[in-house]
């Protein structure tokens, strides 16, 4: 019988071993962190979606800046 760890990476093994409700709660924690860091609730545009409209207006964060900015970049 194939073991989970032979098929997927460690983080997936842990994720699969959680119960559905535990996964839900972990996801809630991630949400809280994301929002605390100023993450936007507006979804990333998905150009492959049949609903994608390049001209559609997008919401901006209340403070007028993106929630994330590059402080340093190296390489390409």
């Amino acid at each position: 019988m194939i073991q989970t760890e032979h098929l997927v990476e460690d983080e997936w093994v842990e994720w699969y071993r959680l119960t559905p409700v535990q996964r839900w709660l972990e996801s809630e924690k991630l949400w809280q962190t994301y929002l605390a860091l100023g993450g936007s609730l507006d979804p990333e545009p998905d150009t492959q979606s049949p609903f994608f409209d390049a001209r559609a207006p997008r919401a901006r964060p209340a403070h007028g800046r993106t929630g994330l900015r590059v402080l340093r970049r190296r390489g390409v």
């Binding site: 019988m1 194939i2 989970t4 098929l7 997927v8 997936w12 994720w15 699969y16 559905p20 409700v21 996964r23 839900w24 709660l25 996801s27 991630l30 994301y34 993450g39 936007s40 609730l41 507006d42 979804p43 990333e44 998905d46 492959q48 979606s49 049949p50 609903f51 409209d53 001209r55 559609a56 207006p57 919401a59 964060p61 209340a62």
Partner: protein
């Protein structure tokens, strides 16, 4: 039915919108309008929030302005390609109760898998994770229905080969419905991988074809909206 359901079932999607599958009838729309009003949600772009668009398979997109969820997107659909009508989805739904007492109704896993068979790259690894997670969770003492589901939906070659080797009779009976099971039964992993890629490509093409007339309709609605905005 979207990211949150995927998380529950074992995939991991950080989806920032909330997708709802709803019953498209007049009474339900009244209830939905009331809930959306509580969220201070406005329709984003096209189509407008009307029954006829939901019944034709369009999604209606909303953006909430309530102070607790500023900018949150809500997408509502009623008809999805390859997915059973809402009445069946509702009968098969999974209801969960969260620790603070809120209950959520989610698409049953097989219905969620069907709904994810779209033209988008991101949905296919999701399907693989969803079915894998279900397999690892239930393989100790599976029912015939579960094994059938895995044989019909797994996208992981090694697991397909494993099940095909253990359930040869069931696998053989399902080959007419999923021809790539012949490669799984013969332990031809390269062939199986190729067939899985072909299966995905074909399904994505079907989804594109399904959306062609709907996309045209959306484009017309966008032009009409733009003309109205310009006072033409």
């Amino acid at each position: 039915m979207g990211g949150q359901a995927c998380v529950f079932y074992g995939a991991a999607e950080f989806s920032r919108d909330t997708d709802f599958a709803i019953l498209a009838d007049a009474a339900n729309l009244v209830r939905l309008r009331s809930a959306l009003a509580d969220l201070q949600a406005d329709v984003v772009a096209v189509p407008p929030f009307e029954l006829k668009y939901l019944r034709r398979g369009h999604a209606i997109h909303f953006r909430c302005q309530h102070p607790e969820v500023p900018g949150m997107r809500v997408d509502v659909m009623s008809v999805m390609r390859g997915v059973d009508p809402f009445s069946k989805l509702w009968r098969r739904r999974t209801t969960i109760e969260l620790p603070h007492g809120t209950t959520c109704d989610l698409l049953a896993l097989p219905d969620l898998v069907q709904a994810k068979k779209t033209q988008s790259d991101k949905d296919w690894p999701m399907i693989r994770r969803l079915v894998e997670a279900h397999y690892f969770q239930h393989r100790g003492k599976p029912t015939t229905a579960q094994i059938t589901f895995w044989l019909r939906e797994l996208r992981t070659p090694a697991l397909l080969v494993e099940i095909a080797g253990r359930r040869t009779g069931l696998c053989r009976r399902l080959i007419p419905k999923r021809p790539l099971l012949a490669a799984a039964a013969a332990r031809q992993v390269d062939e199986l991988e190729r067939a899985l890629r072909e299966e995905e490509t074909a399904e994505r093409e079907r989804d594109k074809r399904h959306w062609l007339p709907l996309r045209k309709e959306l484009e017309k609605l966008r032009h009409a909206t733009a003309r109205r905005a310009q006072g033409v």
